[in-house]
């Protein structure tokens, strides 16, 4: 059994060129050419897929009893405690905020750096904490 299913992907067809690329010693299993006796013949999983967001949206539209735990209502709530602020560049504690770029920074040295950054980089830094301005 084992010999029939293991083997490099190359020995299924004549591929001398490929054999050089992938050393045949690697015991990988190429599932494309293996007989699967345990499967019901003719049945295949649906190729149509929905992503999680679509599924959740559809689910939300249904009626639910109060207090039923669902995928979307077990999400942690917004925090009620004051948030500490950290330097957007270095991650150290941020004592200041630049009024122009809204970046938080730790020291004058970091401020000098911020001032020299182009707007795109500033937005990327803001994006790290999901605060970038997104124009739609």
């Amino acid at each position: 059994m084992a010999s029939s299913i293991t083997g490099s992907p190359t020995n299924s067809t004549s591929g001398a060129a490929l054999a050089e690329q992938t050393p045949p010693a690697l015991p990988v299993t190429n599932m494309a050419h293996i007989h699967k006796p345990f499967k019901k013949p003719g049945w295949h999983a649906s190729k149509k897929t929905k992503n999680l967001k679509q599924i959740i949206t559809a689910d939300k539209a249904k009626e639910w009893k109060a207090n039923t735990p669902t995928y979307w209502n077990i999400e942690a709530l917004p925090s009620m405690t004051p948030q500490k602020k950290y330097c957007d560049i270095t991650g150290l504690e941020a004592r200041y905020t630049d009024p122009k770029t809204r970046l938080r920074y730790h020291s004058t040295e970091v401020y000098q750096l911020i001032k020299s950054q182009p707007i795109g980089v500033v937005q990327q830094y803001l994006g790290l904490r999901n605060a970038a301005v997104v124009l739609k």
Partner: protein, 733 residues
């Protein structure tokens, strides 16, 4: 320079890709399992899939839950690799896909391929999977997705029964079945972190919470941080690599703010900075043997000599040619007296001259060229060319003929430009002499009164630095429309543009416009000009000169004191990105250093998001606040029971320091108890495999399985989303 050799820096090599480890094939199905009905247990996680027989204590297969399906056009083969086999092939790696969207299985086609792989690897060659299945599923998985899975299992593989449970609850069960009646399980997983309270054997999913942070977002955050920190890094970092960085180097700080502050101290920093070295190839510098170098030098010399010889030969030929020409010209000139005029003119024309003056000129230039060439041959420096004369300039026009007047005009122009050249030359010489004198003076003063000289130099430098800084500041202010500087500028522009004369400055009888009489008037244009950078370069040069002097003569003035210095000694940002290793401020980073990442603040910044999701802008409660929220939903007795058994599991639970930090933080949210510790936070025995183990324990309990599994008949009757509640899984709703 100020190179310093520190103690040896530990380099952590960066793997380029995940190493491939082959998955074994099992062949014992027929003799050991084929007719036993032994349950199969699959922990179907979005990161790893673990599968095995319930009767064994470890899963037989542990692999990354992914599939790569592609056609190799070159070899004309279709390929489908699953799990770790994907890492064996470059093409496969780039085609890897997961059946999961977040933690939820959404793509049954890929899932089917993964299940096929499991059964093939386990060696099952029967016509169906005649084994009860125990499988994990996400917390509160939508019915739609459970239905997809059930359909797949019952229809494609015709399994007799399926039992679904939640991996973290299975893990709780595996870490002490008798304790699992009460407690909170915290599972820090791949995509999300879940916290589920269990009270008196009942799972309170309605109080469970999910925080959108786990191993995968952490790796992604790490990747983004590194990309921002090293925007010009010579290599592209992959997600696999950032995952490795996150797993190998992160730790949870016990006191986050204190730990952050400690990174600012270079001494502490040195002990915490992790240097990750990417592979690189140094350019090959060919070492030549001395013999070969000598041979090459000789060859070069020979070549040079040959070239010189050729040039000399060419020069000689030219010289001979010129001499012959000169002889001819002179012969012609001399023959003027002996020949008839018409004949002579004929000869003159045949040699290409128009008139006698041309011939004279040709004789003169050829003679000069010959003299020059001779001098060069003999190595005699050319003597100063005698100044050109302009005889016609001073003669009044009336005394000149038409032709001469023209000539005079030409001479006048030539004379003017010649005079100007001479004046410039003199001025230049004067200037260099002046500069030399100044330098001389400066040097003398430096030797006589070194301290005073230094003080003055420092003062001059400071003045210049202040000036440059002030200018920079002004420029910055001008870029903001509402700043004072900008408004002043607008006022000046408005005043200049207005037609009405400024009333105060003009008195009666003086309404003539005198703008420009005083040079200062023009400064108003300076004031309103936005981009005045005419002097910038000059100032920068001057500053550079001062600093070079100071670097040379002031032993206390080092490179890090210069205005634009960026060295480990004066810049946190420098050692934050480039470490405290040797650094040459003139040359910059060494080649191997440009291929290094320095992980320092990131080591705690990335896992800290678990406690403060606000760091990545995630508007959710952190681990501790979430636990506080959950505990609030229970009465005091239940609370006391729950906190006795706080179990942390999941891949990211292995981050060093997490349990200590949790232990300390949980104390802060509980009522004060002076005598004994009234709570217990512990890590699962095996954060990765305990989910599978717990599921196997349940699967081995035949009686229990009979009550909780969903049979094929029930599937057909109630549909694919149907489950039975059993205390370790989702609620039936």
């Amino acid at each position: 320079m100020d190179m310093e050799v520190d103690e040896e820096v530990v380099l952590h090599p960066m793997q380029t890709e995940k190493a491939f480890t082959p998955t074994p094939d099992y062949t014992d199905y027929k003799e050991s399992f084929s007719s036993t009905g032994t349950p199969l247990v699959i922990d179907n996680g979005s990161w790893q899939c673990r599968a095995g027989w319930a009767t064994e204590d470890r899963p037989r297969l542990v692999f990354d839950n992914q599939m790569a399906k592609f056609r190799d056009r070159k070899a004309n083969t279709s390929n489908q690799y699953i799990g770790n086999d994907v890492y064996a092939d470059v093409l496969a790696r780039s085609n890897a896909r997961s059946a999961f969207d977040g933690p939820v299985m959404c793509n049954p086609e890929i899932m089917e391929a993964v299940l096929d792989y499991i059964f093939i690897k386990m060696g099952i060659d029967a016509d169906r999977i005649a084994h009860p299945l125990v499988m994990t599923e996400p917390v509160c998985v939508p019915h739609y997705n459970r239905n997809l899975m059930s359909e797949l299992l019952f229809e494609s593989y015709q399994v007799p029964s399926v039992t679904y449970g939640i991996d973290s609850l299975f893990s709780l069960y595996a870490n002490g079945p008798e304790q699992s009646k009460d407690g909170i399980v915290m599972s820090v997983g791949h995509h999300y972190t879940h916290m589920i309270p269990v009270s008196q054997g009942k799972v309170h999913l309605e109080h469970a919470k999910r925080i959108s942070y786990g191993g995968e977002p952490a790796s992604e955050y790490m990747l983004k941080l590194m990309q921002m920190k090293y925007p010009t890094f010579p290599m592209k970092m992959t997600t696999t690599q950032s995952e490795l960085l996150q797993m190998n180097h992160c730790y949870v700080a016990k006191d986050y703010l204190g730990e952050l502050a400690s990174y600012e101290d270079p001494e502490v920093f040195k002990t915490k900075d992790r240097v990750v070295q990417f592979p690189f190839t140094a350019p090959v510098i060919e070492e030549k043997s001395e013999e070969e170098q000598a041979r090459l030098a000789a060859k070069r010399k020979e070549q040079g000599r040959r070239l010189q010889e050729q040039a000399a030969k060419a020069r000689l030929e030219k010289l001979i040619q010129r001499e012959q020409e000169l002889e001819q010209y002179n012969g012609l000139k001399n023959s003027k007296t002996t020949l008839k005029k018409a004949e002579w003119t004929e000869q003159l024309k045949s040699m290409g001259f128009k008139e006698e003056a041309d011939l004279d000129a040709a004789i003169k230039t050829t003679d000069a060229a010959i003299r020059r060439a001779r001098n060069k041959e003999l190595g005699i420096e050319e003597e100063e060319k005698e100044p050109p004369t302009f005889p016609l300039v001073d003669i009044p026009d009336e005394e000149l003929s038409e032709l001469d007047r023209k000539e005079k005009k030409k001479q006048r122009l030539l004379k003017a430009s010649h005079d100007a050249r001479m004046r410039a030359k003199a001025a230049k010489a004067e200037e260099t002499a002046y500069q030399e004198a100044l330098a001389q003076q400066d040097a003398e003063r430096r030797e006589k009164e070194p301290q005073k000289w230094l003080d003055e130099m420092h003062a001059r430098r400071k003045e210049l630095v202040d000036k440059i800084k002030a200018k920079k500041q002004l420029r910055e202010q001008l870029s903001d429309r509402r700043s004072h500087a900008s408004q002043l500028r607008m006022k000046s522009i408005a005043a200049l543009a207005s037609d009405a004369p400024p009333p105060k400055r003009r008195r009666k009888g003086q309404d003539e416009d005198t703008f420009g009489q005083d040079d200062e008037d023009w400064m108003v244009y300076r004031e309103i000009s936005r981009d005045d950078d005419s002097e910038d370069e000059e100032e920068a040069n001057q500053l550079d000169e001062y600093e070079q002097q100071l670097l040379k003569y002031d032993p206390e003035f080092l490179h890090e004191h210069t205005m634009n210095a960026y060295t480990p000694k004066n810049s946190f940002l420098h050692y934050y990105t480039n470490g405290l290793g040797p650094y040459d401020p003139v040359v910059g980073l060494a080649l191997d250093q440009t291929y290094q990442l320095h992980l320092n603040v990131e080591r705690i910044r990335v896992p800290e998001v678990l406690f403060q999701p606000g760091i990545i802008g995630l508007d959710q409660t952190g681990l501790v606040e979430t636990m506080q929220d959950i505990l609030k939903r229970f009465d005091k007795q239940a609370r006391d029971r729950l906190v006795q058994n706080i179990l942390v599991t999941g891949g990211m639970a292995q981050v060093p320091g997490l349990i200590d930090r949790l232990d300390q933080s949980v104390r802060s949210i509980l009522p004060f108890s002076p005598n004994q510790k009234n709570y217990n936070v512990r890590k699962a025995q095996d954060c990765l495999l305990d989910g599978w183990r717990g599921a196997a324990m349940v699967a081995r309990d035949g009686e229990r399985m009979g009550k909780i599994s969903v049979t094929r008949q029930e599937y057909e009757e109630y549909g694919g989303a149907y489950i039975k509640e059993h205390g370790l899984g989702n609620a039936h709703s």
